[in-house]
Symmetry: C2
């Protein structure tokens, strides 16, 4: 089963000037987002459009993602009205990994959350965050994108 393994952290202090890192503007909206973690998400990141199905909660979740054409995206996107969010994602290299720092906009302006993705649950568990990352908020609903979008 294809899955997503990630941990999520608050950012204690910025790892230097964010604008010096690669970044992209992300708009995402939910066709469906349920308390049990089931979601069908549409995302536009720069010019890439995707549809993602996720199921489950915690740091290991089922995830299936397909790239959409602009026409496919445009046909479905209106149905996410009222369940959307916008953020800028900065990619900070950290050894062999990348820390993604998401800076939220609009009504969540000021909210900043970092995510690290892993290939295996063991790697996620053993990950030692750098000192500039703060509390581990993996699975904390206050920082769930699907709740932030609702």
């Amino acid at each position: 089963m294809p899955c997503e393994i990630e941990r999520k952290f608050l950012v204690r202090k910025m790892p230097g000037d964010l604008t010096s890192y690669p970044s992209k503007e992300i708009a995402q909206g939910y066709l469906v987002s349920l308390d049990d973690g089931t979601q069908v998400r549409l995302r536009k990141a720069d010019e890439q459009h995707t549809l993602t199905f996720k199921r489950g909660t915690g740091n290991v979740r089922e995830e299936r993602e397909v790239e959409l054409t602009t026409a496919q995206f445009d046909a479905l996107w209106p149905a996410t009205d009222g369940k959307r969010l916008v953020k800028t994602r900065y990619e900070i290299p950290l050894g062999e990994r990348v820390v993604e720092i998401d800076v939220y906009h609009d009504r969540h302006e000021g909210l900043i959350v970092a995510e690290v993705e892993f290939d295996e649950a063991a790697a996620a568990k053993n990950f030692q965050p750098p000192d500039w990352l703060g509390d581990d908020v993996t699975g904390d609903p206050r920082y769930s994108n699907q709740l932030l979008a609702s």
Copy 2:
């Protein structure tokens, strides 16, 4: 809002030999199907693949549909495991309309339901079914595809 307007009927007697009408094999599965009528459906009809988002109940529902490539379909289809159904759809011309007769297979073998789609709610309301159609079961959960698939 793109929407689907349809009425659903039981079939009192067959309108002649079904195999003399155009037909297609349909396999469909649900990424999400909720009691409030929200659903994300994958469908393969002959060689055409689609993803459909529906919301609402009754005879007028929001519906947004996109055609998928085989690769997109194949990436998402496994997530519908346990929420699938298979049916043969026959298309019976009826004046300016088409009556679709769905003959279900597998664990629903023997179940037969007819659907008629309309452009406007008024047309749906005023539709006079031919005598070979039986009870109007529009909105009856016993004949809802999403429940039949679960």
